[in-house]
Amino acid sequence: MSEHQEDVELEPCEFVLEDDAERLWRQVHPEFVQGHVVLAGAFVGTPTARSKVSTVRSSVRTAKQAFDHHTTLGLTSAGSWAITVDEMNVAGCQAIDDAACEGVETPGHSYIDMRGLSKPARKLARATLAQRATQRGRQFPGVGLTGRSSDRRP
């Protein structure tokens, strides 16, 4: 990547993930998946923090557990896709663990930190992460399930 984000101060309850091989699960809304392609729009944060993209650490939860937790909250997901810490760093972002922070209730919660990136750099990062996630393919559910909560087996 041509641009790395400027240093952004972390909260005391946060820390940077350093195991390059660790995968982080990203829940992707069905509007951001067509066929096997994950769109770059899947890597945008919430309205209050567009540059903080929620993920869940694979060292704490499985792809299925991450999916189940997300959909149990009533949120829509087509499934869990995976990005490694190294891929985030290459895309110019940092992977941050914030599971110990107040108000964070998702086990193993972490986020892709795009704060400090310029708008073009964020677009580059999102497309890069979408490319990597697409290459790796959906991690849960497996073939035959769409990932919508209505398709889940009891």
Binding site: E31, V37, L39, A40, G41, P47, P120, K123, A127
Partner: protein, 372 residues
Amino acid sequence: MSEPPDDFKPLRLSGGRFDEASVGTVGFPLEAIAELARYERLLIKVARELWRKENPHRTRAPKGFDEQLRLRLTTVTEGCVTPVLLRGQGDADRLFDPDSWMHRAQSSIAEALSAIVGEQQLPSAFPAAARHTLVQFGSSLRPDELCRIVDPSGTDVAYTQAARHHLVGIVASSEVTMDGTLVGRIGELDANRRTFRFSDRSGRRVEGSFRQTGLIAELRQFTDRDAVATFVRLTCRYSTDAEQRVEGIEDVEDVDPIVAADDPLGSRLRHLLELYDGWHDGDGLAPALTAIEWVRDFAAELTSEQLEPLVVGPTLEGGVLVEQQVAGTRWSLEIDPDGEVHAVTVPPEGTPAIEGIKDGEDAVSSLRALTP
């Protein structure tokens, strides 16, 4: 044509001044008689508007229309106070059936007030031009008085000042008519009445009408009851309700196609037109029409081979993404709602690149550059 009815009892009044009458004082309190005049005015207004809707080629109601519907108070029955009315007589050489229009108007009024009592919006079939007359009816009712509105079948609904306040709120806050454009689909067209049914981007269906006969052929070519009907842009005069939802279309000036089902990427673009604010679990803006049209024009420049791997989706900020991933290379075109466009290329290995895109031709060049 039917004979005029012997009597007509569209109202029954009780409570307050009317109870005093029923328990001993004979007759109808004169200070409340204005409500009967208001009912007559409302009945004639609604009948006239219903007649106009059915006769769009006629600019005015037939001669003697109002006179034939005028009412006279003949008796007041006891119990709860029921004014017995008689429709006016007049020139028998008429080209319409006044009793039919009177009953239709009576039915429309009862239906409208029933909706109001149920704290709903006015029915779409109730003539917009009669709303203010409807508001005036019942204005002298006191809080302890009640007016039962009877429809032609004898069913009634209890209309009170409290219900009327709901109506006042609806009309005061919702009577917004504006000139502008609407995007949606035409599901039905009645060329004789110059009316049509229209579904907007949210799927909300409203009635529309138009004056220009020249528009019939244009509207007809886009009319389709099927879900694949062409999305069009209407330049029109329309009204909205208190929540700014389209209530009705009063007249159409022009119609233009936006996306047809058989357009390149038409299926996906039509899907984007159906997304509403909040599509992403409460987040996510509806994709901007300008972004959708940008992609439509871009897609029209592509070959079928170029189109085949492309996927199209929304962005949370109201833009549109057009992407492909072929042999590990990602190409991502993002059209922001403000018209700014960028293309990102991410190769399987090596450095990704971003470029600003001026127009569709520029985007086609960017896509072509991927092909060796």
